[in-house]
């Protein structure tokens, strides 16, 4: 039984990091209806930029600050130069634009910082917490707990921002009905700029956490694709959905690997999430927390 909990907790903690990437998608999808394929590339860009800056000799705080500025500037430029021009175009056009953007960001990032894989050390060891190990006999990674804590703080901050601030309200208004939002003077591009900047920030945090865990390399962009099953599970428009979806995918993935894997010869961790998502899609296509479309006349 302790082993079961160990696997479960490990799964949940890594699931939090899926949630974080999924959150980046949700933010942009909610506000502009764009499925931003480039979110994974943003995660990669953030991690690589941070590592590159530290290699140049910048301290942790400085590198973090500069990367944040780069991410936000990049997000604003994207909104200004790409999305604003494509406003009122069909969704598929915008989706294609974000695919193009993905390759551009990946290419540019590697051009600037080189493409060899690198390590990233946040100073938190990936070791069991002894206190828990002694009391309960369960292995809980310090790093994963830290990552989960950071993600939780981010999520709480975002939720508060959505609920309580003028911009947050404007953002939810745009998500609900962008024409009505315009009719009362909410400028769409301002809201989009905020959302892209927030998504850039989320990508930065996710990039640092993932990078510290798996190394900073091109494969980070694929890790980000794990957000897809999370989104299918949680619903594309739901912040809580992204969080719960991430936890479920993280936990099920690990449990399946440990308990089902041996029966079929192992190695199912990589794709079991997509199978779950597919099954889920057949039963509840709007996701666990997909916004109910209120129909009343």
């Amino acid at each position: 039984m302790t082993f079961f909990f160990e696997v479960l907790i490990g799964g949940l903690l890594s699931g939090v990091m899926y949630s974080l990437v999924a959150l980046g998608f949700v933010l942009i999808y909610k506000a502009s209806g764009v499925f931003n394929f480039a979110q994974g590339a943003l995660v990669f860009m953030a991690a690589l930029t941070f590592v590159g800056l530290t290699e140049m000799g910048l301290g942790f705080a400085m590198a973090l600050a500069v990367t944040l500025v780069v991410m936000i500037a990049g997000a604003l430029l994207t909104e200004r130069l790409v999305l604003r021009k494509l406003v009122n175009q069909p969704q598929i056009t915008l989706f294609m634009a974000t695919i193009g953007l993905t390759f551009f960001i990946e290419g540019l990032t590697q051009l600037v910082w080189g493409s060899q894989p690198r390590g990233l050390d946040l100073g938190i060891p990936d070791q069991p917490i002894e206190w828990v190990l002694d009391r309960a006999g369960i292995v809980v990674s310090q790093f994963e707990l830290f990552a989960a804590g950071v993600a939780a703080v981010m999520v709480a901050a975002l939720a508060l921002f959505f609920q309580k601030t003028r911009i947050g309200r404007g953002l939810r208004a745009v998500a609900d009905d962008h024409q009505a939002a315009q009719s009362i003077g909410i400028p769409l591009h301002l809201i989009w700029a905020y959302v892209w900047a927030a998504a850039g920030f989320v990508a930065l945090v996710a990039g640092l956490l993932w990078g510290a865990r798996n190394g900073v390399q091109f494969a980070l962009t694929f890790t980000a694709l794990k957000a897809l099953p999370v989104l299918i599970l949680g619903g594309f428009e739901s912040v809580p959905g992204a969080i719960i979806g991430g936890l479920i995918i993280g936990a099920v993935e690990k449990l399946a690997e440990v308990y089902v894997g041996p029966m079929v010869g192992g190695g199912i961790e990589g794709w079991v999430a997509y199978v779950i998502a597919l099954l889920f899609l057949l039963v509840r296509p709007e996701g666990l927390f997909g916004e109910k479309h209120i129909d009343r006349v």
């Binding site: 309200r169 208004a173 024409q179 009719s183 003077g185």
Partner: protein, 274 residues
């Protein structure tokens, strides 16, 4: 225009505008109209006449529907406004309440109202005071303030939409089909409030309506739109008594009201077709 007193200066004037959708569909073929300060002006006409298009042209909401003003000018307080963004226009004091209400369904009634103040950077206290002002006109909204807007009644949604616009402190409201789909009693209530706002807050209204009868009862002046052209305009009272208007828009003719049987027959057929 009106002969009574000195005619008030127009706060809003639309001069011979032409609107094209999708680069090919010509919908407005030279529409001109004026709204005098502090008045309620009705814009009347049948389905598809171009009422909503005219309002959206004024508030610059056409772009989202791939519509474009290709000719003519629009002036507000003597300034050209046809190249402004909706945001700039709201800040100048023009706000539109769209046809079909368009409340933010997942926001509460009060949050909906608060979004209306987005363009104004004001203190919490001022915001509170403005909310109370709206609740004063729409006491019902105060009762429902924490309900999700999508679950409130049609009348309450219409009130929310008007209240939301009021939160922007506009001097002119473009109000599109407030009566749509509402019970006659609620329609009277809403028009009553419009009249109140006009009298007490000096808000001018440009009011698009299919419901000619009620619109002319509350408006000072009216324009009748047909196929993208203004075919008639005049004081509300004159229009209401005009034989053609009676015949075409009020469903009355010199021979008296259309028989109830005809109306029923028409309804039944429509249902079959739908």
């Amino acid at each position: 225009m009106s002969t009574a007193a000195a005619p008030a200066a127009p706060i809003l004037s639309v001069n011979n505008i032409e609107v094209i959708y999708d680069h090919v569909i010509l919908v407005l073929k030279g529409v001109s109209l004026e709204v005098a300060e502090g008045r309620i002006v009705a814009l009347l006409g049948a389905n598809g006449a171009g009422k909503s298009t005219t309002l959206k042209a004024i508030s610059n909401l056409l772009a989202a529907e791939r519509g474009d003003v290709t000719k003519g000018t629009i002036e507000f307080k003597g300034r050209r406004v046809d190249k402004l963004t909706p945001n700039q226009l709201v800040r100048m004091g023009v706000c539109q309440v769209m046809e079909g209400r368009h409340c933010f369904q997942h926001l509460t009634v009060e949050e909906n109202l608060l979004t209306g103040a987005f363009t104004r950077r004001i203190s919490r206290a001022e915001l509170r005071a403005d909310l109370e002002r709206v609740y004063h006109y729409f006491p019902r909204l105060k009762q429902r303030r924490t309900s999700q807007s999508g679950y409130t009644s049609g009348g309450e949604q219409q009130m929310t939409a008007i209240g939301r616009a009021l939160m922007a402190k506009p001097t002119t409201i473009l109000l599109d089909e407030p009566s749509m789909g509402l019970a006659p009693q609620i329609v009277e209530e809403i028009f009553g409030i419009v009249r109140d706002l006009n009298a007490k807050e000096r808000v001018s209204f440009l009011l698009a309506e299919q419901n000619t009868m009620i619109a002319l009862r509350y408006a000072n002046y009216g324009y009748i739109l047909e196929n993208g052209r203004v075919v008639m305009d005049g004081d509300a009272g004159e229009l209401a008594n005009n034989e053609d208007v009676k015949e075409f828009y009020l469903g009355l003719s010199t021979a008296g009201r259309k028989s109830f049987r005809d109306v029923k027959h028409y309804r039944r057929r429509k249902r079959w077709l739908a």
